[in-house]
Point group: C2
Chain length 215, copies 2
Amino acid sequence: MNYLRTGAEIYEESFRIIRDETDLARFPEDVSRVVVRMVHAAGATDIADDVAFTPAVVARANAALRAGAAILCDSSMVATGIITSRLPRSNDVICHIKDPALAEVARREGITKTMAAVDLWLPRLEGAVVAIGNAPTALFRLLEVVRATGVRPAAVVGIPVGFVGAAESKEALAANDLGLEYLVVRGRRGGSAMTVAAVNAIASTDELTNTSRQD
Amino acid sequence: MNYLRTGAEIYEESFRIIRDETDLARFPEDVSRVVVRMVHAAGATDIADDVAFTPAVVARANAALRAGAAILCDSSMVATGIITSRLPRSNDVICHIKDPALAEVARREGITKTMAAVDLWLPRLEGAVVAIGNAPTALFRLLEVVRATGVRPAAVVGIPVGFVGAAESKEALAANDLGLEYLVVRGRRGGSAMTVAAVNAIASTDELTNTSRQD
């Protein structure tokens, strides 16, 4: 069969197509570069139309990573997808969802395991980069924790997916009066792949090598 | 904030919405159940319109898992997302992409690391369940390996994503004359989340508990 067989060729052609077909005019340059990666991960150029953000979100998140901030993830797939070799300070990538104690906490408090896992972020939350790519309840809970404690992450990549609460949780983040920097994809669409693509793009400006997945 | 806070409620409402909004009429019952999970993972009901499949794919893949087949994955995110506790026979979940030897093999042969990783599947490929959720070159290579060796997996969940080769690789799978059972999402869309959702749904018929991600 005839197809491109090297990672560099595939990336170059992919990003050429994406830039050709996607309306990126409204994004600052650094956000635009991240959106290109999100479109790539989704296989859908119209994802760009649903992106909402604060103008400094990429700069703030990148600066936090360069200062050694942890990355707090709601799902194992998000944590796994982050390419640790590209992180500037061997930053900790933290996900509590497989903690066996969560099920009991969730049952006792009448909340999702995801929410119980977010509560465990608190000691590392100040100045962290939050990456939510699965569960709307993680994003709702984060907003509650920030409001209750005053502890603030440096930036929130909030891209949960789904039919119940996903759109609403992202609207709540975009409307936050807590001073949170954010990057979201409005609506039902989202997920771990887009979230990981955003974090990896924020961590490294080297577009053609910023992944270990296809190379 | 006011939102649903228990996994069971969230799943029940999610699947109610999906079944209400998605045209599932053309699918056999077992495939329909898998497509519902894929729609859920994508946050997009129109994914269902792009699904192509062989009628026996879910039954064959489920039977293979019950017989102890390995699951061969192209990416770490796919391997991580598969809920091992739901697998019927503690089946092996195999992904070679982080093997440090791959980079050298790929450079020497002028292929992607993903393709080199697929070549390593061969000793476990006969009767296996293949789950490709990232790289088109993994799917192209699989077809080459099956044609060259005559070794056949029980079923191929082939849902790579992207702008270069993704649509083409899935069309090649759907047009295969190798006797491969398949489940694909035509076009550019795809990814690890949909692939994982399909495999987890194939492995377990318990819809409301078939995930550890949001519970």
